[in-house]
Amino acid sequence: MHKTEYKTLQEAVYHQTLDNGLTVYIVHKPDFRQTYASFTTQYGSVDREFVVASRGERVVVPDGIAHFLEHKMFEEEHGDVFQDFARYGAQANAFTTYDTTTYLFSSTANVRENLMTLLDFVQRPYFTDENVEKEKGIIGQEIAMYDEMPNWRCHSNFLRGLYGDHPMGIDIAGTLSSIQKIRKEDLYDCYETFYHPSNMVLFVVGPEIPERVISWVAENQAKKNYTLQKPVQRFLPSVPAQPREQRVESELTMAQPRVLFGFKETWQSPDAKERQLRETAMEVWMESLLGRGSPLYHALMDEGLTDAGFGSDYELTPWYGHSQMGGNSNRPDELVERVLSALNQYGKEGLAQEDFERVRKKAMGRFFSLLDSPQGIAYVYTAQKLRGIDVFTALDVLERMTIDHVMNALRSHVNEEQLTVSLVRPKQPRELVAGKGGTLQ
């Protein structure tokens, strides 16, 4: 087992790759009560075209199938997996992203039993025609619920604008009609291809001794007779160079318009460290220009252009990247104009040394709250690691950061040809949905 120490953080990550290819990471938190474990496959909603590992056939599967599979893993021949976790007092869950599916639990007792339950249920598929049909009603309501959430709708339209009919532009859960096409045979194809241990990562954080955790996991895996599998062959269409639509609008029952806008990234690097530096530089300028300590953030609110929920974010992976900014606004187009002109001005004038230092200090301090959250560590560490980045080096990256990095990132990113604006407007007159006032007779 390999141990990487981070002196400033006073943390260590233990790491081992097992014989069957499963990668295991452990962070020891002796003072914490809980053990939090996540079991992640590098398989998400974008993986709709691939070669089925067992028979070498290239297939295209319906949208939303990775998420559907995540739901169906919780059903076993003997019943519901939630019952197995409940028996040992654990809290279990799962989630699907564009490029991963993660199963997890947290528990304060019976850690070994719960860890075995996690490994075993994810490594034992059980799909029948009947249980697949049954799930369509449940997921249909999940899709219906998200569909009426303004934040979700606005974000989902934003990605559709940026990526069009590329899988990045399609909702993770698919659509009501795409999930109707899913059959148990499709689920088995996906399962056999993507759930091989060599395509998966186990992350455990908690008070258990790392050596002990590794031996439990190794013993469990050794019993399962996995044969080695070649890396998955997937066919992901290349991401369009420019946004497919620069403006996407829709309507929902809500009180106030909501707008999200941002730029599709053109910068890319095969070097993970370079990407990490870029991501950090982007976060620094976004914070200094749009964060709670910036004059612009308060000006936007004072002028009635948005509210305290206005925020910004940037994401960069080896194959896509974009920034996003926005929030609620009664004058969304004015808000976008205002921020764009501030971005241009800022690009010309540059960042003041004093602001840079303040924002850098803030980013350093904020990083520590991540280390106090077992769930946060598991999620961020795994997600970044799968993209080649070690998140525990974040402080070193901040130390190395210069104003030039920040301004170069800003100037090369902000380009109106790469801009997409997603706007969701209220469907009905405001008085119908306004607060009812003090009289509740």
């Binding site: 019952q83 029952t253 809500m254 709670r292 509210d307 303040r358 803030k362 106090d372 469907k427």
Partner: protein, 432 residues
């Protein structure tokens, strides 16, 4: 369990310190407790926003936020909370432990000073808050209330509780009323602020790698004016009312909106409150009914009937109220309602040993997990004052463990359905 808070009282300021090396950040929580009332809820809910707009030292919102940023990103938030029939005004601050920062800068002392400035020395002139600032925050607050409709499930839950408890403080919305925002004035709001400060008992909780002696000395200096302030009125803790209205036939309310998915809510009342011996059994009751994925609602509404993605219940322990919620296809209303009511009936007679033990283990796990949150014991302390009984996490675990099926059934017999609420589409409305 962790070491518990060490407390000391100074005038109307109560300081509670928990020294620990467990976390890499430190946490401060300032809490002020008062009765919840429709008369001033809107003003009080707006107040934390105004106080965060500037202090005597840092007069503008950005200057104040920059001061926090400069302390390695110390983050402050302020809200008005609702707990049963009571209201809180709260400020929460989290910042990095000095030990881990380059050069070990002194952060704690200045953070405490800033928090005290926000609370005790806001930017104000001639007994009034800044007029422009108040107008901006009023618009934002009105909009925030109106935006509650955006989250359909949360909105439906709030409506159910408001309709169900319209005669009780608990029915008052946490953020107040949109149509009462307009009448708030800079002078009136300042007056309300002084009035709250004059009458309030303030609890300051601190968790981090510092000693009680050090924290006390810093806090007493920063909050000195509060330790000197003594009100003429005798200091009393505000207790919860601990009765619910008499049982009556369930009321069904249907509200229409242009939505695709329906939200079905069922409001239940019990005669069991936080201070009661049967409270642990009420916790188990809620857990078996709808607190977990192994619970009756999840299993029967979602897993067996495939009617919903979520079907759960949660309880408001200080109020003896439970709320069931499920998002369903609109034409499945009757079917879903029948299954939910059947689960409530089954709580009186059909509880298995497995349901009991899974739920108890699930609850214990939740309590132990909460031990990894710095403010859990502080929350229990607030609830002890509000609910009229001191309960520790350890004592709750022990009490929950002892709950029998008979205990849960006894609780079930005290529970009645008060309100059935359905948020649905506008079918039929336009032609009516």
């Amino acid at each position: 369990m962790n070491a518990t808070f060490q407390s000391s009282s100074h005038g109307r300021l109560h300081v509670h310190t928990l020294q620990t090396k467990k976390y890499k950040t430190a946490t401060l929580w300032l809490v002020l407790e008062r009765p919840l009332s429709a008369d001033d809820v809107t003003e009080v809910a707006l107040l934390p926003r105004i106080l965060l707009r500037g202090t005597e030292r840092y007069k503008t919102p950005e200057a104040l936020m920059q001061a926090f940023d400069a302390l390695y990103g110390a983050g402050i938030s302020g809200v008005a909370g609702k707990h049963g029939d009571l209201q809180t005004v709260e400020f929460h601050v989290q910042f990095a432990d000095e030990t881990y920062l380059p050069g070990h800068p002194r952060v704690l002392d200045e953070v405490v000073q800033l928090l005290a400035d926000v609370f005790l020395r806001p930017a104000a002139e001639s007994e009034r808050f800044n007029e422009t600032g108040v107008e901006v925050e009023k618009d934002l607050h009105r909009q925030r209330i109106e935006n509650l409709v955006n989250d359909k499930a949360a909105y439906a839950g709030d409506r159910t509780l408001a309709l169900m408890c319209k005669e009780e403080p608990f029915g008052v919305p946490r953020m107040g009323y949109a149509d009462r925002v307009g009448s708030i004035t800079p002078a009136g709001l300042y007056k309300k602020y002084r009035e709250i400060l004059r009458d309030a008992t303030v609890h300051l909780y601190a968790v981090g790698n510092f000693t009680k002696e050090h924290f006390d000395s810093v806090a007493l200096r920063a909050f000195a004016s509060l330790t000197e302030m003594r009100s003429a009125a005798v200091e009393t803790d505000v207790f919860m009312s601990s009765s619910n209205p008499a049982p009556k036939a369930a009321v069904t309310i249907v509200e229409q909106m242009d939505v695709q998915q329906g939200v079905l809510c069922v409001g239940l009342r019990s005669s069991v409150f936080y201070k009661d011996d049967m409270y642990p059994a009420l916790l188990v009751y809620n857990g078996i009914l709808g607190g977990f994925p192994h619970s009756k609602l999840f299993v029967n509404v979602r897993e067996k009937a495939s009617l919903a993605y979520y079907a759960s219940s949660r309880m408001f322990g200080l109020k003896g109220v439970l709320l069931i919620q499920s998002g369903i296809q609109i034409d499945h209303y009757e079917q879903a309602k029948a299954i939910i009511l059947e689960q409530i009936r089954a709580m009186e007679t059909e509880i298995t040993e497995e349901e009991r033990s899974f739920t108890i283990q699930g609850l214990i796990n939740q309590y132990l997990l909460s031990d990894d949150q710095p403010l859990t014991d502080a929350m229990m302390d607030v609830y002890a004052r509000m609910g009229g009984k001191k309960r520790s996490v350890d004592a709750l675990i022990e009490a929950v463990q002892a709950v029998t099926i008979q205990d849960v059934q006894a609780v079930a017999r005290t529970i009645w359905v008060d309100t059935i609420y359905f948020l649905r589409d506008e079918e039929g409305k336009r032609h009516a």
